[in-house]
């Protein structure tokens, strides 16, 4: 029994190490690629390895939602927009380190050290032993029960936020299209008024 448990432990460690390093490496790749198309593809790898980490944390429903919502819908939207506006190369490290790049690296490193120190000081003693879980933890039924009982307000507010975002997207798109038509119409009018005869 202990042999089976330790073999499972080693297996989970191996999967964790693979997923964590894929996650960190693809995160760094997103930041350092000069082409936004490759950055978006690296972010898909990041999201997939994060879904593996969520599965190891027994959050099955969140992992499935991560793959569907992020890996499916959001990334397709990113790739469409990148294809729409065309490739825009930008090399973040070209021309030697500027004061902005040095400041950004210093700020991000300070943030990392700060988070790790705070978590290590405040919570390192209690992190060794996790709670025992029931079988329903993280299942869709449990998530749905929590959403419709304890967190009903968050559920409703989320639906309003999504509605507002959809309206905002439509307004942003329609506004520029109307201006486009308006400028085309005024060009036509101008051409009409300056036409000789």
């Amino acid at each position: 029994m202990t042999l089976v448990a330790s073999a499972g432990n080693v297996l989970v460690w191996i999967v964790w190490i693979g997923a964590a390093f894929a996650c960190l490496g693809s995160g760094i790749a997103v930041v350092s690629f000069s082409n936004p198309f490759f950055s978006a593809l690296a972010l898909i790898g990041n999201l997939a390895s994060l879904a593996v980490l969520y599965l190891l944390l027994s959050a099955e429903f969140v992992a499935a939602a991560q793959v569907l919502v992020y890996g499916g819908a959001v990334m397709v939207m990113f790739l469409f927009v990148i294809a729409y506006i065309g490739p825009q190369q930008e090399s973040p490290w070209a021309g030697g380190p500027s004061w902005q790049a040095v400041g950004a690296v210093l700020a991000a490193g300070a943030l990392l050290i700060e988070i790790i120190v705070v978590v290590g000081l405040k919570a390192s003693g209690g992190l060794a032993h996790s709670a025992q879980l029931g079988h329903a933890f993280g299942s869709p039924a449990e998530i749905g029960r929590l959403f419709l009982t304890d967190h009903l307000l968050a559920f409703e507010v989320t639906s309003i936020v999504l509605l507002v975002a959809a309206v905002g997207g439509v307004i942003l798109g329609a506004h520029s299209r109307r201006e486009h038509w308006g400028s085309a119409g005024s060009d036509a009018l101008r051409a009409e008024s300056t036409r000789p005869g």
Binding site: S39, Y54, V81, P92, V161
Partner: protein, 102 residues
Amino acid sequence: MLGPNVAWYLCVAAFLFSTGALGVLLRRNPIIVLLSLEIMLNGGNLALIGYSRHLGDGAGQIFAISVMAIAASEVVVGLGLVVAMNRKHITLDVDRMNTLRG
């Protein structure tokens, strides 16, 4: 709990969050800034789900799903802005966008 305990997951989450912050501070293309913002939100999500597993409380997962919905909304508005800027032939460089006049 098999495998690494929650502290390791929190380290990965902190590293992801800092990587995303580095991208937001460093990059000038607004699309890559949005992608880095997604990495920051995912670092926060990983910490939420790690603590949810640690405490045996499902509320962290509810939080994580709400964060995903907020992130999707933010992407819709951000990409709408990028497309609108591109239509008005504004340079896609966040360092040059320093006025609010269209």
